[in-house]
Amino acid sequence: MDVGDRDPVTGQLTTGHEWNGITELYTPVPRIVFFFLFVTILFSIVYWVLMPAWPLGWTYTKGILGFDQKAVVQSQLAEAGAEQSAWTSRIDGMDYAAIQADPELMKIVHEAGATLFGDNCAVCHGTGGTGGKGFPDLTAGAWLWGGEPEAIAETLRVGINAPHEETRVSQMLSFGRDGILVRDQIDDVVGYVQSLGPSAAAAHDEEALARGAEVFAGNCAACHGEDAKGNRDLGAPNLTDASWIYGGDRQSITSTVYSGHQGLMPSWEQRLTPTQRKILTLYVLGLSGETQ
């Protein structure tokens, strides 16, 4: 290699080549580069000896530590399961009331339940369980299917209108679209429904109200009950409380009665273990303040 001029700044020689004005210095490779090359390669060799590393046709070098990621994760899972079983076995074995009476277990229910709820339910019911349009508020105590732990556990297991053999089925008919009721009847019955709630404004049109009550008795009472307090066997909501899934203003109720609804609550039997569903049941009950 021919050697060129000396660079005045560094005192190094150039290699003697020049490409459109660019030259290169002959500076030797700094020692530190070799040092780090040595260190990293040494580390790699040690690591290869210890760990599974090089392929040998049908097998591979296993490494003298005998480390295997699948075995590790399996043993970690087993270990974690064993640790948890201290309390999971108690939750599995005890009935709801007994668990609710045990502050130590309830602490776990709250911790584990919050995460389970956040990961599985919050998308629809909201992080605090307060729901939103189309998704019921689980904190209000206004249950569609009942507030007993067994009822909630069953809802979680089979879902509502879900693709599960035993799913709970419920439907609010589309009275308007299917031509069961005409426009005026809908207006009347909506006015009647509005008059039932706790905050109902004083009725101004007694006549319309009476017509509405009649429509209600003929078409709605079968599901929502004579007193409109709902039917927990059919999942038909109480229309006299302040709690609404789809909204309690005139327009929302009209749209409910006109086009109907069939809310979908997934079934969790395949997704969550019985223990997890039990924890969630207790957690949901806690949300509505019905712990005691």
């Binding site: 459109n20 004005g21 660019i22 030259t23 002959y26 580069v33 090359l37 911790e111 995460t115």
Partner: protein, 551 residues
Amino acid sequence: MVAQLSKGERQLSVIVLLALALAGLAMAVAGRADPLGVHGIIVILFSAALIFVVLAQFNAPEPSPERLKDYYDDPSKVGIVLSMFWAVIGMALGVWVAALLAWPDLTIDAAWASFGRLRPAHTSAVIFGFGGNALIATSYHVMQRTSRARLPGQFSPWFVLIGYNLFCVVAAAGYFMGVTQSKEYAEPEWYADIWLTIVWIAYFVLYIRTLARRKEPHIYVANWYYLAFILVVAMLHIVNNLAVPVSLGHAKSYSAFSGVQDAMTQWWYGHNAVAFFLTAGFLGMMYYYLPKRAGRPIFSYRLSIISFWGITFMYMWAGSHHLHYTALPQWVQTLGMTFSLVLLVPSWASAGNALATLNGAWHKVRDDATLRFMMAAAVFYGLTTFEGSFLAIRPVNSLSHYTDWTIGHVHAGALGWVALITFGSIYAVVPWLWRRQAMYSARLVEWHFWLALSGTVIYVFAMWNSGIIQGLMWRTYNESGTLTYSFIESMVAMHPYYIARAFGGLLFLLGAIIGTYNVLMTITGHSKAVEEVGEDMPHRAGAAISAEPAE
């Protein structure tokens, strides 16, 4: 520009464009019930538009043979402008997806505008549109100068540049229609892949032919890097995209690989795309424009050699670090991790070589924002490769993987390294190419530098924070052995960082817009023209460049 083509080249262009339009027609007919048909129409429109451009000057007089004594820079010029254009588009898409992550309700609720389609449009527009065009344009410029040889013909450089942009357009249009083969950075479907293969082989042949004509006894290191970029990307692209289309009338295809082999092939491709597209090519850029601009010799010729071979050899093994703790056998992960660690040494050697080259020119770095772009790029290159080797360590990866830390790492590389070295090189090359004394406005370059730097820093810090918080939240357990946080809580925790990231990205985008304006003003004659521009003008000496007949 067309007038600079010989009559034969003009005829060839029209024939090739007609053939392309025919191919488009075939696609449009065969795929009429499929997005493939829309792609066919795009190809027809694209070729028709270019046919008009060529026909407009088809009968212009034969250009003077004198031009063959000079370098051929028209394709480089167009490539630079296209690169800036894609930069603005791609970065605007980036700001959009960043905003969507911070405020999901900002969506306009159309299928094409969904996050899943905008994201690959962003990555492809910046990597392939912005980065790719800059690589092609600068590679033409650099290889001619460092070989002291004109490009061998005038047709094939255009074929490569324009064909490549057709690929980018088809890719982007496909994402908006939902066409993807679901391989990260290799999303375009089989027909786009075949087209890119043709273009890429033409690129390789062009490069080799130019090198074969060189008047310099030695091949300059920048050319090694460009060549490694072209060669390896060809190999990666062909292997990773092996697939069987559902039919010739459908966009959809099925990969030749499945399961863990598919994952490994994809990340062998993915990581080497980072290595040879986003690193080797840009190192080529750096090795030319940085010493040129600094007016300093390369610090160490030997360091260039060992880092080149170190990077080339070591990167090939590293892909499996993207698949730690997966179904991939552990021994493959071990190899990926250890080679990633050794890789740090040649990477830092390159960064160090670049920075040490600036010895004796630090006053220029202080005064000249263009050189400062390149200096900062070398620093970010060092930082990103250090971080990459660190993230490749399995236990570290168990925290960082699937989190925004990866995104922070990528953007330290993509913004800090790739984009900064590109902007620096563009600011250097634009006045040289267009024979201007300097860029239209040095102050705007200065503004761009600070916007880009602060945007990068804000972005990267936001993602480091968000990523580490995510990683920790996802692995925090209660005393009872259950997870403490739900996923949605980690989303809530990220919100402020997502806003910060969108802001940092916006600054970076503003810089790119300013840069585009500055480039356009410079080339449209708002900057003083010069006959022979300073130090970097081609060796006009007629003897230096042989006047061979063009293709």
